[in-house]
């Protein structure tokens, strides 16, 4: 029962993540890549994403705080961030990155700063949700093998 309930919860949460637009198709690809050879593939990728994102966010912060602002560098960092977030299907985060890049190419510092806040916010929300979700997934998996 526990197992079923867990599985049910996992399924529900997963559905809502997609329905609400936090996750997108690429995430499904990740899930499909997970197999017996890599039973924790999704978790590994997501963890890698967190680490890399933290670094990029820091770089962007730094670039935004420096004067004069180097928009090329900013765009570069954001391009990277967008690339990795889109790879895992982090839809909302990716969208915010796109907005940021638009401000960046327009060299609109204000816009960049504002949209970067949005990026960070979406990133934080997604991260939280994913952590919860994956934890549930892990528990369900364990309960299955039990």
């Amino acid at each position: 029962m526990n197992r079923n309930r867990l599985q049910h919860q996992v399924a529900c949460m997963r559905k809502s993540l997609f329905d609400q637009g936090y996750l997108d198709e690429p995430f499904i690809q990740l899930e499909e890549l997970q197999d017996d050879a890599n039973p924790n593939f999704v978790q590994e990728i997501v963890t890698l994403f967190y680490t890399d994102s933290a670094r990029l966010i820091q770089n962007i912060e730094h670039a935004l705080n420096s004067r004069p602002i180097d928009f090329n560098k900013l765009d570069d960092y954001m391009h990277q961030f967008k690339g990795s977030s889109s790879s895992i299907g982090a839809k909302k985060v990716t969208n915010e990155c796109t907005v940021f890049r638009e401000y960046c190419s327009a060299e609109n510092a204000e816009g960049c700063i504002r949209s970067f806040q949005q990026v960070k916010q979406e990133y934080a929300i997604l991260r939280r949700k994913l952590e919860v979700y994956l934890q549930m997934v892990g528990q369900a998996a364990v309960s299955q093998t039990a």
């Binding site: 593939f41 990795s84 889109s86």
Partner: protein, 682 residues
């Protein structure tokens, strides 16, 4: 960065995938395909690795371009295909692409989160065989093997071509004709081309029919010898024949040298072009009179020098070009339409030539020499280093193959396969070979074009008399191939005359290879790729045959093609594989032509040089044609299309033009206005 050599990466036999010639590869293929994936994003890299493993490929991943290069160099023939991200911190993905093309001649797939047309086009022009948009789906990766097969197949084709030139030529011609019938403005050009094909065909046959040229691998030593010979001969005189003589390498053919020369030039060009890219961007469209050839000439000169250096630009051709530039149409001065088709970049140098011949000549001479050294200060040492470096990396296996001599036979193919960087191709090779019995690929490194192509902007010098009459020259035997030198317009500005001569070299043989828009975007930005005239080459000796029978080759490429469903693959449309293919097909000689055909259209050049009457006409024609053609046509490998380059050029043109439209400020330069060089005095 962690990279693990895929199992069996080093040796063919260790791979568990059945890449054994004898096996029915089909079953296991593409399992075991050896892929090197390069991406600085650790998340993406890991995902890609997993996806590729799921496709049963052998994956090696690395997060830095430099590392990737060294892995490739250390494991010659250890990989079948490379997938690389565009944006990387230590090296631009396109640069990596060029290096790989130059040194290893492997198919390279670019990927990026950036799907802007501009960037994608850049991938195309640099010779990527495909461009994937991130996030990459596993489905997209499942199909990458086609690029490997295609490339091999093209190589075989080329080889085959050399063996059965006549047939191929005929076939090509037919397809070419067929193609032409549907395009406008073919008129003279087509006629010329045909004549030229005839000539070449005959000549080529004599030259190569009995020669089975195994693929030549330009090892470090070999390349060094080559460079030494080139330097010794001097830019002006470095023609394949002489280089060959100086090198005195048994088993090496003039075609091999010619083709390598093309690549070398492209490489030089790219090196110097990049730096000058910006500066010469907007050379004013030189008015007929007296325009300052200065800036333009630099470009031309560079090209000329490069051409000369590569031995493709014989003095005579140069002279001829200059003469052409002077406005005296020479028999062969027109740039064959074919060249254009081949997507060569139009070298605006031609227009320049039109101005002040004297001056030009003068300039040409000087500039050539000067430029060569001048340009490149940044270029030479670098490129030499690179080249040598690459030379080293270019395995010796090919040499082995080469040493096996011309025996066209299964052996060769096998050897070649082994020798070739992509030894994995065995399976492919075998199958291919069986189709084309015993035709060792004559292309030493046909696909250098991949990277080299990028460098080699085939400049099809658009001869001044590009107009109708000029097309006629195309038919002339001397078909100078458009050296795919991609000199940015920057250079062009300095070499007004120089470049022109190149282009005007008669007979740019119709290279059927489809030119690659190498750096079209950069070109557009102002570096006018001028088409170096392989014309010069052609002119040079080639009347006969120097068989730039690319045309033929190109044609044969399509015509005989068997079937392979791969060919039909739409990917071809999207990638420059076709181009590669055509390049590959050619034997060394042709190959260079093919590369040449990758000339880029530099509208800017035309504008700058202003010389463009012919050029304009030509361009206009091309443009018109191009417009009619879908940009995809460029990659159209359908038999009907191969036709040589004519089409390619048009397509290229259109693509280029479109590209221009999409490109920022630089575009203006390449605006069609430039083409309407009505006011350019001849």
């Amino acid at each position: 960065m962690n990279f693990s050599c895929g199992r069996g990466a080093m040796s063919i036999t260790s791979s568990s995938a059945a890449w054994k010639p004898a096996d029915a590869v089909a079953d296991q293929f593409p399992a075991g395909l050896r892929v090197l994936v390069v991406d600085d994003d650790p998340t993406c890299l890991m995902i890609l690795e997993k996806m590729l493993r799921t496709c049963l490929y052998e994956v090696t991943k690395c997060n830095r371009a430099e590392t990737a290069l060294s892995i490739l160099r250390e494991n010659k023939n250890g990989f079948d295909v490379v997938i690389s991200d565009v944006h990387m911190p230590d090296m631009d993905g396109f640069k990596l692409l060029e290096h790989i093309g130059l040194e290893m001649d492997l198919p390279v797939i670019m990927m990026s989160a950036d799907d802007g047309k501009h960037v994608v086009m850049k991938g195309v022009t640099h010779g990527a065989c495909d461009y994937l948009i991130k996030p990459v789906r596993i489905e997209a990766l499942k199909n990458i093997w086609q690029h490997v097969v295609r490339k091999r197949k093209n190589e075989w084709k080329e080889f085959e071509q050399s063996g059965s030139v006549e047939e191929g030529d005929r076939q090509l011609k037919q397809s070419e004709d067929a193609d032409y019938s549907s395009s406008a403005n073919e008129g003279n050009w087509r006629g010329s081309k045909k004549r030229k094909d005839d000539e070449e065909e005959t000549d080529e046959r004599d030259d190569t029919s009995t020669l089975k040229k195994p693929r030549v691998v330009w090892s470090v030593e070999l390349h060094q010898q080559f460079v030494a010979a080139v330097n010794q001969l001097g830019i002006d005189k470095a023609v394949p024949k002489k280089i060959l003589e100086m090198m005195n390498v048994p088993g090496l053919t003039r075609e091999n040298v010619a083709s390598h020369l093309q690549k070398y030039r492209l490489y030089l060009r790219r090196l110097s072009g990049v730096s000058q890219h910006q500066s010469n961007l907007n050379p004013p469209f030189i008015s007929p009179q007296g325009a300052t050839f200065g800036p333009l000439s630099s470009l031309n000169g560079l090209d000329l020098q490069a051409l000369a250096a590569t031995g493709q630009l014989p003095t005579q051709s140069l002279a001829r070009l200059q003469a052409a530039g002077l406005g005296r149409p020479t028999a062969k001065s027109s740039i064959p339409m074919t060249l254009v088709d081949q997507r060569n970049t139009f070298s605006f140098e031609n227009p320049k030539l039109r101005f002040g011949g004297q001056q030009q000549q003068h300039m040409n001479n000087k500039q050539q020499i000067n430029l060569l050294h001048g340009i490149p200060t940044n270029m030479e040492p670098k490129q030499l280093d690179n080249l040598q470096h690459s030379g080293q990396s270019i395995g010796n296996m090919n040499m082995q193959v080469a040493s096996h001599g011309a025996q066209n036979n299964q052996n060769n193919s096998l050897l070649m396969q082994m020798g070739q960087p992509q030894s994995r191709g065995q399976v492919l090779g075998d199958t291919t070979v069986s189709q084309s019995p015993g035709h060792p690929s004559s292309m030493g490194q046909p696909i250098l074009s991949n990277g080299m192509a990028a460098n080699f902007a085939s400049r099809n010098g658009i001869p001044e008399n590009i107009g109708g009459p000029s097309y006629n020259t195309v038919s002339q035997a001397s078909s100078t191939l458009n050296l795919p030198l991609n000199f940015p317009m920057n250079h062009a500005s300095e070499l007004p005359g120089n470049s022109f001569p190149l282009e005007s070299t008669p007979g740019i043989s119709s290279f059927s290879s489809k030119g690659v828009f190498q750096d079209v975007s950069s070109e557009i930005k102002g570096s006018v790729g001028f088409m170096l005239g392989y014309d010069i080459f052609n002119d040079l000796n080639q009347h006969k045959t120097q068989s730039w029978e690319l045309q033929n080759v190109g044609m044969t490429f399509d015509a005989p093609q068997h079937s392979s469903s791969l060919q039909d693959d739409l990917h071809i449309m999207q990638s420059v594989s076709v181009q590669q293919g055509s390049t590959v097909q050619m034997n060394g000689h042709n190959r260079s032509a093919a590369i040449a055909s990758k000339a880029m259209f530099s509208a800017g050049d035309i504008k700058e040089h202003g010389n463009a009457q012919n050029v304009n006409q030509h361009l206009n024609n091309l443009v018109d044609n191009a417009r009619r053609v879908k940009s995809e046509r460029i990659y159209d490998t359908s038999p009907a299309n191969l036709f040589p380059d004519h089409f390619g050029q048009e397509d290229l043109m259109s693509a280029l033009l479109k590209q221009q439209d999409g490109i920022g400020p630089t575009e203006n330069e390449f605006d069609f206005d430039g083409y309407s060089i009505d006011n350019i005095p001849v």
